[in-house]
Amino acid sequence: MSKTSRRRFLAGTALGGALATSTTPAPAQAKTLRIRSYHTVQQLDPLNRLGAPEGDVMDCLIPGLVTSKGDGTWGWTLDAASALEQVDATHVKFELRKGMGWSNGFGEVTAEDVKYSYERMANPEMKSPYRGDWAALDKVEVTSSHTGVIVLKEPYIPLFTTTMPFNSSSIVCKAAMMKLEGQRYTVEPPATFGAYKIKSIVPRQRYVLERNRDWPGPQVAFDEVEFINILDANAAETAYAAGEIDLTLLPMTAVPRVQKSMPAKSKLVTAPSLAYWWLGMQMEEGLFADKRVRQAVQLAVDVNAVLEGAFFGVAPRSTGFIAPGMIGHRAANKIAKPDLAAARKLLADAGHPRGFKAEIGVRNSAEFVNAAQVVAASLAQIGIEAQIQPFDQGVQKAMAGNDWKKMQIHITRFSMQPDPSWASVWFTKEQIGEWNWERFPDAEYNDLHAKALREPDPQKRHAMYVRMQDIMEDSGAYVFLTHGINPILHRDHFVPALTPDANRVLVTKFRHA
């Protein structure tokens, strides 16, 4: 028996280390996919989900009747349903796949589960922030163990664009839910049935899924999927470079650099986002209650400089809250470029020839703070001395109670689904004190929003949303900035399936390259 000397041990360790470092992290047919979650996965209940990364996990565990196609279009395809037919404007028939079994011994997935899931979302007592997705639901009629009919109270145009393919339509297990206190859960569904099942959960670190061999639908490419929490973008890039993750969302400002020096065996997807960034002005209290002051700000802000400074010029300017290619997208802004002379005149007419001090509230992150600094520089040119107030949890906190009176200007980003109503709803009168932070109270806007939800003619609907954005800009309270882009960096040994805006990662549709 040979003795292990210190020298031999060191030599062995060095050799082992050399072999380990020479191993490339991406074999041709990798069995495990590691995805960065930029937001901690903590709410997998459709009622209370918090962000896209949670939706990505839910798609794997508790799919809905249909899902996004994942082929670069906004279309949908069957998922838990084997057939689905819209009979008329208020009735949708469905048939579930046979053989989908709940985990933990809860039997087969039935139409009763679908009824329970969708009526639960619509139930006002459950107080889901996503209740609006099913607000038009009257009931789900169960016609047999695997068939049923979704019955709406009135036509609801966004049903197949924003409600059905996304997580407001995830199916939960009725029998398992009835056993839970308050019929709610957080990070771990009481039963799952999707293409993957839970392997392990390390709270606030990783969520590991493994292939569900009983899933009767299309087979998935990867045996295991790890959703790894990495909140910091720089740390995520380091993890990617070290081979610890296979796919990550990048900050927009990273795009020019990554394009210039692409990591080995990697691809970069830069998809136009549907989200919308805008500068808003509170129009009810103080100096900004005067429309001339708001219009002066609209004319002073150099939007192109904001985009260049905050996003390094990779994100084009927006014309409203609806992205290009969608119904309601406006062709152009009414104010195309800054006009400082006109802005100064408006301020003088409003009684502020020498300007005044103002406050810009933003989320405490680099893109928002940089955008605000460029806006402050623009406003300085007409005499407005703008102070920047970063908020760790976003501007929403600053709008609580009576604090909104102090917040004159804010720069905000809202996420978006592929239907214009998802954006227009936040600027209605009913949202004043909630999400309508400008306190924009236009009656015509409200009327158009309600009508557009029921208007089946796409052209008429388009005209309505264009008019709504015109009204917003005319109020002086809005400067539309950008929709941004979603840059996704991934290994080239697989083809990711993403929604066209790359906001959602459709893991079950990934395939090997």
Binding site: E237, T253, E308, A366, V374, A377, P390
Partner: protein, 292 residues
């Protein structure tokens, strides 16, 4: 007249001797030079910097050091050197104001605790312990969440968390001094507590506390930089070493210069004040025996 002149000469020679000893101590001299350099660069920032620290030049963002921009530019094309020297003003302002305030309040409360009635001593010690039991950064985060980030908030946080440091030391010194014969003699001659505290106790405790204050300056600068790094300190676009570091971290893959420009002044200031404080302590603290 002769005795007064002799005393003055004695004081002068004592001061000159201390300075000589400080300059003879390599670390002390190095610390003094660093502190002088940092103070001078902050005072003469407008002369040294060719650009305003908030002047944008977006097309020229993240440039490397050039003859025009000695430390390059940041993500908005602002001159990093200008932001560093103007940021020094903020660092020194925060540290001097907050150390000065906390020193003053800590002195008064410490003397009251040491010389006053037992219940007041207990009450003040309880308050000091309560404040010190919070980790400073947690306390800072809570305060910023409640009243929002600003220069004044940073100063308030530092003052509140530093008062117990001075208060405890002054209390201990006062407790030991109040039973000394010269204090007892003064009291027997009818001197009131205010006279005793400010004429006899204060001159004896101010030295050690002043040395402690000089060593607290880098601590305060680090707290300010830490809060600004987290976006909870001085509001943008006002330059601060912490916010330069934050920008540097966000763009560390684009350029290493920003993070170096934000970090180096913090390191140098910490070193400078620490070396200077330690040298002063060696010179003035009789327990170390060097004064003899």
């Amino acid at each position: 007249m002769v005795s007064v002149a002799a005393a003055a000469a004695g004081e002068e020679s004592r001061g000159a001797s201390a300075l000589r000893r400080l300059l003879r101590d390599p670390l002390g001299a190095f610390g003094l030079a660093l502190v002088a350099l940092i103070v001078a660069s902050a005072l003469f920032a407008d002369v040294l910097a060719a650009y305003q620290p908030t002047q944008l030049d977006i097309r020229n963002r993240l440039s490397e050091p050039t003859t025009l921009h000695w430390l390059g530019t940041d993500q908005l094309g602002r001159d990093t050197f200008a932001r560093v020297v103007y940021g020094g003003r903020i660092a020194l302002l925060v540290s001097l104001v907050s150390v000065g305030l906390s020193l003053t309040v800590g002195l008064v409360l410490g003397m009251l605790a040491g010389y006053g009635p037992r219940w007041l001593d207990n009450l003040l010690m309880l308050a000091f312990d309560a404040v010190r039991s919070f980790p400073t950064i947690m306390f800072a985060l809570a305060v910023v969440t409640l009243i929002g980030p600003s220069l004044e908030t940073v100063i308030l946080i530092v003052v509140v968390t530093s008062i117990p440091v001075y208060g405890r030391i002054v209390r201990t010194q006062t407790l030991s001094l109040k039973t000394n014969e010269f204090v007892l003699a003064e009291r027997s001659l009818g001197a009131g507590p205010i006279r005793v505290l400010f004429h006899h106790v204060l001159p004896n405790v101010i030295g050690p506390v002043a040395i402690l204050a000089s060593m607290e300056v880098p601590v305060v600068i680090t707290i300010e930089a830490g809060l600004s790094f987290l976006g909870l300190g001085v509001r943008p676009p006002t330059p601060s070493w912490g916010s330069i570091l934050n920008d540097g971290y966000a763009f560390v893959r684009d350029t290493p210069w920003l993070i170096a420009a934000g970090g180096l002044p913090i390191i140098l200031t910490t070193l400078g004040f620490t070396f200077l404080g330690e040298a002063l302590r060696d010179i003035f603290d009789p327990r170390l025996g060097r004064e003899r």
